[in-house]
């Protein structure tokens, strides 16, 4: 039995199963919902299987076609990939349960194939070790995400989707030009081989600039964040959750991976670190301030995403001297944010379903009438603010620790101010949720599964506060942050 688990091709299943399921949903629309739920559940099990396998045998590497790099494409998973895959599987499953109740018949037959293909793209991206292959997965992901945003219909959603598509394509093209330069400079597109062959030449600087710009645009880092609020706010609630929790993290993961493996060892210059840290700090402050100013709930949550992404980039200046702590903090923050933000958007979806609107000022005694949803929002808020116990607290604590140790008082100040501003907008929403609105609105019932999906995700974010040690040791498989790396 043990042999079965470690020999099974979990990595391949993670990619092929959603592809196949998506196509079957397309052929057989009536089975779409059932098939979607079964598939996302199986993906969760497969990730668990992969984790077991990796705990046993270390990093996972698979040469597709039997050729091996540089001629063929390699699949590769280490601790960081595993963390992203696990996040995708768990959050994806919760959102699937939510979506089963959220979408009606016609919308449902459109939603499920698109979501399953998005899932396949995410898995393929986290498992890939080939930068051109990653480009194709980015496009798959981008088209699926745009189509999902446009499902809502109407002027806002279509406008948001169009802006999202244009910026996603721009980011991908910049990334592709970087890939072209790297290939022609070093004769391979495999990350591991590039890490060996790359040297400090103008081509590498150009590639870093291009790919960095493209990935920063896709990750919505200030000032390239303009496309995110319209897209995330006007999409259907489960789609907003998917985008903020998962899709935005994918480009961050690639940026991190390329930085650690290919660019950092030779470029490693103060300038890049400082720039990224500065952008992150401005994202935190600007995003939080904008969130405070919003009158619509989903826009508030979207700007909160902009701010939280900024925290991830604060790890860059800290990593110069305290690599593992800073990167682990960023990884933990990414995981907690995924759970918490998804919970928030799902809770917002419940509120919109309930009251027919998402104006914050008119949230009419939600705490009494939708206690589960209100608790979900509050618990998710705990993680976003960085209060103990929660995953957000662990991430911020690690980062504060690193900043204090290096005497980076400016970053400490940014983090504290960011936390205070986050508390501001979270409590603003909760405040209105407790009180009676001026105008009473007619309410519709919210299916229980939708409320529970949101609550369980929020509980997960809080639970992460207790799981720091096991999660971080899992992330350490394969040593993704390169503490003990020796370059040949």
């Amino acid at each position: 039995m043990e042999v079965v688990f470690t020999e099974f091709p979990w990595g391949i299943i993670l990619i092929l199963l959603p592809l196949m399921a998506g196509m079957i949903c397309f052929l057989w629309p009536r089975m779409a919902q059932v098939l979607g739920l079964v598939t996302t559940f199986s993906i969760t099990l497969s990730v668990a299987g992969l984790a077991w396998q990796m705990l046993d045998t270390g990093v996972y590497r698979h040469a597709v076609g039997g050729w091996g790099a540089p001629l063929g494409i390699d699949l590769y998973a280490d601790g960081l990939s595993l963390l992203m895959l696990a996040t995708t599987a768990l959050v994806g499953f919760a959102i699937s349960v939510y979506s089963a109740a959220y979408f009606e018949r016609e919308d449902a037959t459109r939603f499920w194939p698109l979501w399953l293909f998005l899932l396949a793209a995410l898995n393929a991206l986290f498992l890939s070790s080939d930068i051109f292959n990653i480009y194709v997965t980015f496009e798959l992901m981008g088209l699926a995400a745009v189509a999902l945003v446009a499902l809502a219909g109407g002027r806002d959603a279509l406008g948001g989707a169009m802006r999202y598509l244009l910026t996603a394509l721009l980011g991908s093209l910049a990334y592709l030009l970087g890939v072209a330069l790297l290939y022609h400079g070093f004769g391979t597109v495999d990350i591991a081989l590039l890490a060996e062959r790359v040297d400090a030449s103008p081509v590498v600087w150009a590639a870093l600039g291009l790919m960095g710009a493209g990935l920063l645009l896709k990750t919505a880092v200030f000032p390239l964040h303009f496309w995110l609020p319209p897209a995330h706010a006007s999409a259907p609630a489960p789609v907003s959750a998917l985008l903020s929790a998962l899709v935005v993290k994918a480009s961050f993961y690639i940026l991190l991976r390329l930085w650690l493996e290919v660019f950092e060892p030779l470029v490693g210059s103060e300038g890049v670190y400082t720039l990224l840290g500065l952008l992150g700090a401005m994202a935190v402050l600007w995003g939080s301030v904008q969130a405070l100013r919003q009158t619509r709930l989903k826009l508030l949550i979207a700007y909160s995403t902009v701010a939280q992404i900024g925290y991830l980039f604060l790890a860059f200046p800290l990593a110069a001297a305290a690599g593992v702590t800073a990167w682990s903090a960023a990884a933990y923050l990414a995981l907690s944010h995924a759970l918490a933000k998804a919970a928030m958007f799902l809770a917002a979806g419940n509120l919109v379903r309930f009251g027919g609107h998402d104006r914050i000022a008119d949230l009419d005694r939600v705490v009494q009438r939708l206690p589960l949803t209100a608790s979900a929002f509050a618990l998710a808020g705990v993680s976003i603010m960085g209060l103990p116990p929660s995953g957000g607290f662990i991430g911020k604590w690690l980062m504060l620790e690193a900043a204090l140790a290096q005497g980076r008082w400016d970053l400490v100040a940014v983090m504290i101010v960011g936390g205070l501003l986050a508390a501001g907008y979270i409590f603003k929403v909760l405040g209105y949720a407790f009180t009676q609105a001026d105008v009473v609105h007619e309410s519709k019932t919210v299916p229980t599964s939708m409320e529970w999906a949101a609550l369980l995700l929020a509980l997960g974010a809080v639970l992460l506060g207790f799981l720091a040690v096991p999660v971080l040791s899992l992330v350490g498989i394969g040593d993704p942050f390169g503490i003990s790396e020796v370059r040949p």
């Binding site: 196949m20 052929l27 540089p70 698109l114 088209l143 004769g187």
Partner: protein
């Protein structure tokens, strides 16, 4: 917006200059992966390097890109809206041209598919020609009454990527690696893949041109 443009121009010029400098710094002679491709091509089942790379060495990329094409169609259909239909009948020139060209285009597509094994050609080129013939038919006024045929149409659309995924899985089970073609049967397997891909690509491109989901007979006003 004028001052914006004057700010943008020098920035873009600087960008172009920097990128050009990076390009010019590349060595004059760099074989890249050409030698490795030439050596391994014998066991790849085809004798044209581009087809070998596309369908065998980097077949995984091709699998994903076929899904991208299908996904674009899914996106277009999920946006809703009706298919654009021509109201006036086509002129004589277009009508005759369509009648003459479409069978010719289908033949050319089949030829391109076959010749891809040892000369420039293959699934994508053939699929594009097939798609063009579909577009020509649509321009000439063909109103596909595909409501009754919805299921076969979807099957055709999915045939390419589905064959790829199924073959990838089967090859894993038999050969131990994803998409590892056994050298003896590689040529035939690749031809099967390419045929399914050609059909899918052609139908998908024509469907993309059509726009919204084709209407059934019942919905025609």
């Amino acid at each position: 917006m004028n001052w914006n443009r004057w700010l943008l121009l020098p920035l873009l010029l600087a960008l172009t200059a920097g990128l050009s400098y990076a390009v010019l710094s590349l060595p004059d002679h760099a074989p890249g992966l050409q030698e490795m491709v030439a050596v391994k091509m014998e066991v790849s089942g085809v004798s044209h390097p581009v087809t070998a790379v596309l369908l065998n060495f980097r077949g995984y990329d091709t699998l994903l890109e076929m899904v991208v094409l299908l996904l674009a169609l899914l996106g277009v259909w999920s946006l809703g809206g009706t298919a654009l239909r021509r109201e006036a009948p086509p002129g004589l020139v277009l009508d005759t041209l369509a009648r003459v060209l479409v069978p010719l285009l289908i033949l050319v597509a089949a030829y391109l598919l076959w010749v891809g094994a040892h000369a420039p050609g293959g699934a994508f080129q053939a699929g594009a020609v097939l798609g063009a013939s579909g577009v020509l038919l649509l321009l000439a006024g063909w109103c596909p009454r595909v409501g009754l045929m919805a299921w076969p149409l979807r099957l055709l659309l999915v045939a390419g990527p589905a064959t790829f995924v199924v073959m990838a899985a089967l090859l894993y089970m038999f050969e131990g690696q994803l998409l590892e073609f056994p050298p003896a049967q590689a040529g035939m397997l690749i031809l099967i893949l390419e045929t399914a891909a050609t059909v899918s690509i052609g139908v998908t491109l024509a469907a993309l041109f059509l726009g919204g989901r084709p209407q059934s007979d019942k919905e025609h006003t």
